[in-house]
């Protein structure tokens, strides 16, 4: 079976410094995959390479077997990949309801229509409400998104990311800067909304990753030093040495 996402020999150079130095990775459909690594390992860069925000210096990214090189973000999205952003990235001046509804438009076949009224479709409205229900924001539907609390905004962001119905969901540090209870809430949410989907997430918080991911890749200085199920990664001495050691000891 074709993997949902496949990276081959990915390199990225900014000027003279090479941030990503040859990443190969294959993620199967339906898998929950996490990419972890210490600060400055190139996690976000890798993330942006996959989603087409930066062009690769060399190497290929394939989504369901299709090369993504030179594709604009909206084209990648239409091929079934959706992403969130590390910094909260919602539409602050639009209502929460409108945020979600806009995210649904393309997948519901509206395209660039300027004769269809979006308000006319009960189906679209009910789908939007359904999604709002999933991310527990029904009561906030009419508020401008910019006034929500931080955790709510992150939840909304996840809602926007999954709304389009993409089967590969990429989340960039979805729990960054959150308290423990908020993190638990978001992790539950992610687990709930990504059922039957391929999930790729970059994360810093170990707890999140170990509870959620089927497999974990460890990225250190632009290279993947291990890809394995959580328990194996935990046991891997190279990983321990490079990154996890201190954190794990503190946990025990």
């Amino acid at each position: 079976m074709t993997p949902a996402l496949q990276l081959d020999g990915l390199h990225k150079r900014f000027g003279k410094t090479e941030i990503i130095r040859g990443v190969d990775l294959s993620i199967a459909a339906g898998e929950r995959h996490a990419i972890i690594g210490p600060n400055g390992a190139g996690k976000s860069t890798l993330f942006n390479l996959i989603t087409g925000r930066f062009p690769c210096t060399s190497g290929t990214v394939r989504l369901h077997g299709h090369d993504l090189a030179g594709k604009a973000p909206y084209q990648i999205n239409r091929m079934g990949l959706s992403r969130s952003f590390q910094i909260t990235n919602i539409f602050p001046r639009m209502s929460v309801f409108e945020n979600i509804r806009c995210s649904l438009l393309w997948s519901q076949g509206y395209k660039y229509s300027f004769w269809n009224m979006v308000g006319r479709s009960p189906e679209l409205t009910s789908k939007t409400m359904e999604l709002l229900e999933q991310i527990n924001l029904t009561s906030r539907a009419e508020l401008p998104a910019g006034v929500l609390s931080y955790a709510e905004q992150r939840a909304l962001e996840i809602g926007i990311t999954i709304a389009g119905g993409a089967d590969v969901i990429m989340l960039d540090e979805p729990t960054a800067g959150m308290s423990h209870s908020e993190t638990d809430y978001i992790v539950d949410l992610i687990r709930k909304v990504t059922q039957d989907k391929t999930l790729v997430m970059v994360e810093h918080d170990m707890g999140v990753v170990f509870g959620l991911a089927d497999r974990i890749s460890v990225l250190v200085y632009g290279e993947i030093i291990a890809t394995a199920p959580p328990e194996e990664v935990r046991a891997n001495p190279k990983v321990q040495e490079a990154y996890l050691g201190a954190a794990l000891q503190a946990e025990h």
Binding site: F85, P92, R93, W106, K111, F114, P122, I160
Partner: protein
């Protein structure tokens, strides 16, 4: 209301009752039908015509600025070009006695401007922000300069004039009188405003908001930010062209001043004054500005100074514009405690208004003393005649100004609460 804010257009439209959403439109139609009965003077109707044209133009500008987040310094180009094209159509109709009704002329103007917008938009909407703004400025300068050079189309500084009465009479109406023209313009105002309102409810209109707020995120929703901007831009061009056609019909002349940078800047001011965040904002802006322009300029030579000051004050204190100011009261209205606001309002706004009037009086007196003829020491201000060369009125003006502003300043914090 037409004023359902972008931010909370929310759940209702689909299942909300149709009457509620169409009520403002019915009211608008009734008001427009009644107005010419109230004002029968041709000049009043001419000003009303101009007001309606400005409303269409401002609404079309807000398709760019308010809904699409594109700041344009050259939007008058699309109004002017559409108008000029209509003048040529008008002259063709006169020369060849073509059987066309005057009513369809705006479609010609709209389509011609749409054509220009599709060309310019193809490269100017690739990016928003500064790049778009500067390209619009460049195009604006370019077309304004061309309008003095390409005489065949623009007629130089004289412009192109024509006669609307050679069109095929519409059930006997030959458009000799201003009020006949009024109903035509009113019809197109309602149609254009309704179409623009509906446009904002379409997927492209909705996504224009998304692209305005966050183009990068919008791209990951499957929409190309550029195409969304492009479609909004073309739509705005189309409606600006309709406004231009109505200028052609109302004034029977188009000149360089209809498309130069001054006009473009004016529409930016009008739209911002009214408020870009709400659909009805530009309508308020257009009404207020047209009134200021035609009424204030009859009263004082310093009207532009006052408009400039009003504008700067609006940006500084009410960035949401007049519409934003009105909508701030919506929550209070819903809670039914609007009454609570009355006292702080009286305490703050009335002294502020008095202070402003004092300042204006001071300016007027200064101006009078410096510019009036020697020996002409009498001046009329606020229906009072007095001698501007004695000290008393100055003291009064300064005192009112200072007390007014001081009281307003002191009470302002209470209002904010």
């Amino acid at each position: 209301m037409t004023g359902i804010p972008d931010s909370s257009s929310a759940v209702s439209p689909a299942n909300g009752n149709a009457l509620r959403s169409s009520l403002p439109w019915i009211v608008a139609v009734v008001v427009l039908l009644v107005l010419p009965q109230v004002f029968q003077a041709n000049s009043a109707i001419t000003i009303l015509n101009q007001m309606m044209i400005t409303i269409i133009f401002a609404l079309s500008y807000n398709m760019l600025l308010g809904q699409g987040g594109m700041l344009s310094f050259g939007h008058a180009v699309y109004m002017g070009v559409g108008g000029f094209f209509c003048m040529h159509v008008m002259n063709l109709v006169e020369a060849n006695e073509l059987p066309i009704w005057l009513h369809v002329l705006p479609i010609f103007g709209g389509l011609f401007s749409l054509g220009l917008a599709t060309i310019v938009g193809s490269f100017s909407t690739r990016k928003a922000g500064t790049v778009f703004a500067m390209i619009s400025l460049g195009i604006g300068e370019l077309v304004a300069a061309c309008s003095l050079i390409i005489i065949v189309f623009f007629g130089g500084e004289e412009g192109i004039s024509g006669d609307r009465t050679y069109f095929k009479p519409f059930f006997g109406v030959k458009f000799l009188q201003q009020n006949e023209v009024y109903y035509l313009i009113a019809f197109w105002t309602i149609v254009s405003a309704l179409l623009m309102y509906l446009f904002s409810r379409t997927p492209v209109g909705r996504m224009a908001n998304a692209v305005r707020d966050n183009p990068e995120r919008a791209e990951f929703l499957g929409y190309s930010a550029r195409w969304v901007r492009y479609f909004s831009f073309c739509g705005a061009g189309f409606f600006a062209g309709i406004a231009g056609a109505l200028v052609a019909i109302n004034f029977e002349i188009l000149t360089e001043t209809d498309l130069n940078l001054g006009k473009s800047g004016m529409i930016l001011l009008i739209t911002f004054l009214g408020g870009t965040g709400f659909f009805f904002g530009p309508i308020i802006g257009a009404i207020v500005f047209t009134l200021l322009q035609s009424v204030l300029s009859l009263q004082t030579e310093l009207w532009q100074l006052y408009v400039g000051a009003l504008f700067v004050a609006t940006v500084m204190f009410f960035p949401g514009g007049l519409a934003g100011l009105l909508m701030m009261h919506q929550p209070a209205m819903r809670l039914g405690n609007l009454g609570l606001l009355v006292v702080p309002y009286v305490n703050t706004l009335i002294p502020a208004a008095i202070g402003a009037l004092g300042l204006a009086g001071l300016m007027e007196m200064l101006f009078h003393v410096r510019h009036a003829a020697v020996g002409d020491i009498e001046m009329r201000l606020f229906w009072i005649t007095f001698d501007s060369h004695t000290i008393l009125p100055w003291v009064i003006a300064i005192a009112t100004m200072i007390t007014g502003f001081w009281l307003a300043y002191r009470n302002a914090p209470k209002l904010r609460e």
